[in-house]
Amino acid sequence: MIAAGALGMTERKVAFALSFALAVLGLVMAAAAGQGVMAVHGAMAMLLGIFLIFRTGGALYDDGPADERFERYYDAPTRFGIAMTLVWAIVAMAVGVWVAALLYWPEGTPAVPWTSFGRLRPVHTTGIIFGFGGNALIATSFHVLQRTARARLAEHVSPWFVLIGYNLFCLWAVSGYVLGSTQSKEYAEAEWYADLWLVIVWVVYFVLYMRTLARRHEPHIYVANWYYLAFILVVAMLHIVNNIALPVGWGVAESFPVWAGVQDAMVQWWYGHNAVAFFLTAGFLAMLYYFLPVRSGRPIWSYRLSIVSFWGIVFFYVWVGSHHLHYTALPYWAQTLGMTFSVMLLVPSWAAAGNAIATLNGAWHKVRDDATLRFMFVAAVFYGLSTFEGSFLAIRPVNSLSHYTDWTVGHVHSGTLGWVAMIVFGAIYTVVPQLSGRDAMVSLRAIEWHFWLAVGGTLVYTVSMWNAGIVQGLMWRAYDENGALSYSFIESVQAMAPYYLARTVGGGMFLMGAVICAWNCRATMRAARGEAPDRPIVAQPAE
């Protein structure tokens, strides 16, 4: 992991001191809590710290790093981040398939609290969004930033701090849910100390990003970096505002949010929708803007469209969260604003999707032949589809049919499976061979299998959820000729059985594809022939 060969003596000492500090922090947490979730989390941090003490301490007096390291990009953190991406993908997708199966087969829930649907569902969402998506974003951002800045990362220890610290946050979050601890805010369920920890990690990430960008040897900042920076900055803002809370005590996991009532709902969905916007869209658009032209060998179709879609997406998205609260206690005027801004958001979103697809002009034969590029093409198509669907569902009367139904779940998964995961896999299949000094992945056939399983799984999943949601919405609002409800609620639940079964199958196909990807990446990394061949434009001065 932390290859001593890459760190100088001072850096090794800093890494050792940080490991020690983490172990002490964990000990203090565990001691302050004494019992409960926070004590378990303190113990986890302490064990991780002790492991890192041995890891860094044991390599303290190894041979020093070669000076040539400054003539190369620093890719070891990216490799670690991709490995964590795949670990989280398999764990969180497997949990997703399991809870999908429970919806079809609720009797299958084991009679122990931690396996209940309510605890496992946030393990799936957090594991996918933060574990899978977040690691992919951080890992690829290091890769893309260095290439488009033509500069090595500004630091050697802080990338590790960011990645390890971030994964500790994810681990605290999901283990907390299993133990029954939650803040009860969707996609922000982690408890207050985990939230504070993430703020520290995020600030270090931001500083590292800015310092590296400042060292760039290119006159312009590439589009991908605009998006990565928007992702880092806005996620920090969202995370802090939504998670402001007063802990019940310094030794307990529970806390009171400062927001209450409909204001809390509004802040939560301002956060929730912008988690979709800046975590699940902006960062992945950065991936698209880098890996699509690299893989297709084509210039970005329109620089001007890039500018308009970037500023459009960044400006409009922050307004639209209130469309999650149509027909609620939220004032009508806030709903109207959310609805209209959602509709205006469609144009910049489609401009980005169209720009990506038009970039493939002149490279369609590659889309046909290269499954990796096909992943990116499908991602751009699903990005366009789900942003259209999102704007459509945000229109109030449409929302009156779709709200609270599985249509929402279908919409989210057309975005996360069809767009986010597809572009991640496209990026992984581009980066992994490059970092292994190879021309291609070990098995191209496995990529084909993965591609068709992923596309098939996504289609089965989203089509069944669209049907499920529309059936539910229509059943709930149907009245008979006497003005009485036509269906009882349980009848609408019974009607879901075939769709829930199909959804489980679709999710299972997607999971199988991810397992194949993980195997292929592992095999490729083990068959590495060296490091990435490309170099920064100028060797960085040693610090």
């Binding site: 290439r147 590439y222 709903q335 469609l346 144009v347 009485a484």
Partner: protein, 307 residues
Amino acid sequence: MTDPNVTTDPRDLADADAETGELEVDPVSGYELTGHEWAGITELNTAFPNIVVWALIITHAYAVIAWILLPAWPLGDDYTRGLLGLDQGEMAIERYEALSADRSRWLASFETGDFDAIQKDAALMIPGMAAAHRLFQDNCAACHGPDGGGGPGFPALNGDTWLWGGHPETVAETVRVGINAANDDTRFGQMPAFDWLERDERDALADYVVALHDGAEDAQGAGAQLFAENCSSCHGDRGEGGLMNGAPSLRDKSVIYGQDRATVLRTLRHGRQGVMPAWSDRLSEAEINLLALYVATLGEREAEQAQ
């Protein structure tokens, strides 16, 4: 589209040919490149497509029209009301009242509680029972089962034996006030704990009660004696129930918690005090009467299905 860059001398542009002022052209698309390059990635200087401009105009026009018509922008302690003057609270109440008015064409007749007359009126019973079926599924089925068949802890509603009486009027009262519920007039039913009995006495009693279910009880044994002293006042002399005091018959399937030996012993030792919530705050009088009539039909449905 006129390109604003054209107003400057193209030869001044970075990356332009200093002689001709022309940018490099992408051979595939025939479009100019911007001249930017990052590790091999380049960009075309493609003009902004007209369709995007039109799409921006249309979506913005939609938004502006919506802002004019609907409540939209906050103004400190007020907001722009919109020309249509819509208020979502008022609209919800209006629609609810319109639906209620439509339904009251026939639902109002159920408020009277004259069950015998209603039961004979097919024009009322046909829409009523269809609506009652959904009401039952939404409010009662979670405990009593979708067919009223009951389950452990929850009495069956599709048989002949009743804890408090099976006439629709009595059922309506039970629905209204509940059993051991948070309601001033609630029905009160308790099976006391017989933990003060000796263990062997409870064993004997349990054997007797288990045998009652099969009609194979030993009428002379110690169990029979204990039953007569402690149980018969509520459950009836021979455990036949039907005293309309909340105590079930011990001779038929209306038994609530189970009549195997272990369950009977647990019941004897700890007692039972089941709860049925009071529905008067949640359902209207007409809806409660509707449900009472529906529950009366459950037994008939069961009999029809058995044939």
